[in-house]
Symmetry: C2
């Protein structure tokens, strides 16, 4: 799950001032989320619920609302009015769905921090009544599985709150999106260095980032605006390569990025043995001694900074990092080029171009 | 999660032949499930999906369709036609939601078997490519979390397939139901013997069984039939005590039942340290030496049959088992009495009465 995507700044670059008001959209998404969560806490089915709502609320706060933002771009591209209409509530539903996905992602990766703060299963472990630390950790994980489940259920409830008309337009894309993210996450589970591992890593990236994070949210926005086939084709032609560039950049940051920028400990991806495209490219190109080193260190939960530096050295020597950086340029270029092929309203074009450029920045 | 509820026979008792055709409803629910899953496997977003659909398909096969059945009772009580109309598809959606809940329940409990077969995380662990057994187990758990997530998403998709009109009628109840089962499961997570443990165990039972398994499915059926307030009141007056009786019986079977009847290893509940009403009553009544024994053995993952027998002996000596058996009689009686207070169509009454009687049978 692309944690570091959350740190792409949605603000326009200084030289191309966007005409799109992301700040106000973000504010409306946050208000819709808060309104929904507040209602859940105000009339709880059980007294245990309000403190759990607070955990969700605090976790949700750190997000940059990337999916609502792409949803808004799709809406504008489809001719929707600049105010955003239903995008705030539907975007809030996307965000709550993403909350579910991140909570479970952190459980699966056993991550300790996210967005610079303790992950949900860690927060919940601290609420265990009792001294047995192992029991507390297990309680935290199980409670986080349930709270994630609840967020998935609630994202659907929030979608209903947006109104029948909007829900019906968005739903077919949302169904595809939900299946796609689970499939992407499944392909992303650590495995062995089998023959098809590189292919699997590409498919994972396409489903969970190109599809789930960019193309589908764009399509949701376009569908809400009742867009024609040309705009829907743009969502794919622009969204897929951009999503790929985003994830490839995320893979690079996971190995070479600094924790202050990413909000995640620097060694998490390497310790978890994430089967990224970057690592698979390195493996493909590695000699037998380099492979032995990857086998030994990649996925070692006790990996230290010295070991990580040895892994980084192998990656650099294979040239996999350069290859990935080139791919990012290429994909971002494809995304930008797609924007020239169709006529879309100016604010949508500016917003999409800014986002494509943001994907190529800060690759270290 | 009440595993053993699945083993309540929905067949009518010999002396009161029901006029309700459960077998044919069950067949239609199964057909709707199969049709949906087949469609997911036929046009997969990725090649990894069809084998995962097969895992769901095999897991789903063993269920007794208790929630669709209650949904059907609610439909009949509300004046729905005996064919069942939308109940087959909506019931299939309930069943797929339950599949999600059970997959995650088994992950949380680390259960090895369900319905006499390996649990989903065990099945998936066997598909791991590699020799590291610990990595395989972790892969199985993570893949099962994702497959459960997918089943929740798909249950909503199946509900849409039932049609706008029916979906809109069922949805408010479904929203409440989803929150309630997560809350019930949360309260059911093993904790310490704190002052409020008995209260928590009652609340868990009320949400996850009385609400999720009986009252809500009844209400869904009643809403589908556009029932009036009197029938909706019946869903609560009959459904809640019946659900409580079901779960209390389940608790007894979890300690005293034979694995051939329950489909679960006899010691699972005790090894997991399930904070049931039964165990909490025993704890309340136990002396200090009995409490020490409960503390030592309840929740011990390595508990053997001799240890289990010592726990059973404590429960018997405190009289907690007798108290629970009496409660079951009382609650089932309340459910039956509620049926006399309103006028509902004869087939619905017969079906409901049969189910209430089934709850009191086979308490050992």
């Amino acid at each position: 799950m692309p944690a570091r995507l959350a740190h792409v700044s949605p603000a326009p670059s200084p030289r191309a001032p966007a005409e799109v008001d992301f700040t106000s959209l973000r504010r409306r998404v946050d208000a819709a989320l808060e309104e929904f969560l507040e209602a859940q806490a105000r009339h709880p089915v059980d007294a245990c619920l309000p403190p759990l709502v607070d955990v969700v609320r605090e976790f949700v706060e750190g997000g940059k609302r990337l999916r609502p933002l792409f949803c808004y771009c799709g809406w504008l591209a489809g001719g929707g009015e600049p105010g955003g209409g239903p995008v705030a509530k539907v975007g809030a539903a996307l965000e709550l769905f993403h909350t579910f996905a991140l909570i479970h992602d952190d459980v699966m990766d056993r991550s300790a921090t996210r967005r610079g703060r303790p992950t949900v299963h860690r927060v919940l472990a601290d609420r265990y009544h009792g001294k047995d630390r192992e029991a507390a950790a297990r309680f935290g994980v199980n409670a986080a599985i349930l709270l994630g489940d609840l967020c998935q259920a609630w994202s659907d409830e929030l979608l209903c709150a947006a109104g029948e008309r909007w829900r019906r337009r968005a739903e077919p894309v949302l169904h595809a999106m939900r299946t796609q993210v689970m499939v992407g996450q499944y392909l992303d589970l650590a495995g062995e260095w089998t023959e098809d591992a590189l292919d699997r890593s590409w498919r994972a990236l396409r489903h969970k980032t190109a599809g789930y994070t960019v193309e589908r949210p764009l399509q949701v926005g376009a569908m809400l605006a009742d867009a024609g086939p040309e705009v829907l084709r743009l969502c794919t032609a622009y969204g897929r390569p951009l999503g790929e560039a985003f994830q490839l950049r995320d893979d690079l940051l996971g190995v070479f990025g600094s924790p202050e920028v990413t909000g995640k400990p620097a060694l998490d991806d390497l310790r978890e043995g994430k089967p990224t495209v970057l690592m698979n490219l390195a493996w493909r190109r590695a000699g037998s001694r380099q492979r032995a080193l990857i086998r030994e260190l990649h996925g070692d939960p006790a990996l230290d900074e010295a070991g990580a530096e040895r892994l980084r050295d192998v990656i650099r020597r294979t040239g996999a990092d350069t290859a990935v950086a080139e791919l990012i340029e290429l994909k971002a270029g494809q995304a930008l080029a797609a924007l020239d092929d169709v006529t879309v309203p100016a604010p949508a074009r500016t917003a999409c171009a800014d986002l494509a450029r943001a994907a190529t920045r800060r690759t270290r």
